[in-house]
Symmetry: C2
Subunit: 160 residues, 2 copies
């Protein structure tokens, strides 16, 4: 699941990910995707021991902490505030149980609907909303593989 | 992963899912979520042997077959046609390799951006776009658990 979250982060316009815990095999597979499809020059993949220190650092930098949780405020009711929130954004998504600390230290707890579904979907929808869909036109200059969109079938250009 | 796809289908407004293959444990866990959070009256969860027969039946019924694939046409370039496509929609998402047959028998091959990421995210974005975000206000009459959105922390009403 974490792999899908990270691939969504990259494909939907995030600048990188902090991953709590250690998973060498997963990081290796991610770096392979980035090497082929692009993003090596800027997309950060960092394993960390404790997310709380990152949250505190982020606050000191003057950024905004967004926690995506089904218990939060519906994103539809938050949409008009997107323009005013201070960047950079740190977006927190949790797999299983997320500690209460994050709820109380996030600037905003935002729900992608108040129903159980998936942190993968939650991150995708949030990024799609803040970038207003433009992220889906992203091109990666250092990509070795590029897709030529097709009505049916597959067309890919390979370089490098 | 299939569990996440199904939870997204339910939470984002689909009427049900056909799952190719057999996975009793997974179906049981899904039905448990539906029993608690609602949707039992209409949300179909059906295991099937072969997706192709469903596609053919769907066509005979006059519905539209949408295949979500990174090789397809960017959803942003398809958006204006949403109003004209004939319902009901059968949306095909594949985990690993999807057979060429589906590419050539779908009415539309649509890409949620032409980058590798996740079928979970692809389905969520597609449904969010066709329902214009309204699906995130969905309420389930038969729900035994309901969330009261909170700025911080969790508030849930349990009934039945």
């Amino acid at each position: 699941m974490t792999t899908h979250v990270i691939l969504v982060a990259r494909a939907f316009g995030a600048k990188g990910v902090y991953i709590e815990g250690k998973d060498e095999k997963m990081v290796k597979s991610i770096l392979k995707v980035i090497d082929s499809w692009g993003g090596s020059s800027y997309f950060l993949v960092k394993e960390i021991e404790n997310g709380k220190s990152i949250v505190n650092e982020w606050k000191e930098k003057g950024g905004t902490i967004i926690h995506l949780t089904m218990y939060g405020i519906n994103i539809n009711d938050f949409q008009d505030r997107f323009e005013k929130i201070k960047y950079p954004l740190l977006i927190i998504v949790g797999a299983e149980k997320v500690e209460g600390w994050y709820y109380h230290n996030a600037d905003y707890n935002i729900a992608i609907g108040n129903q159980p579904h998936s942190e993968v979907a939650a991150l995708a929808i949030f990024l799609d909303r803040i970038y207003k869909g433009r992220e889906l036109y992203m091109e990666f200059e250092d990509a070795k593989i590029k897709i030529l969109p097709q009505k049916a079938g597959k067309k890919v250009i390979r370089s490098g």
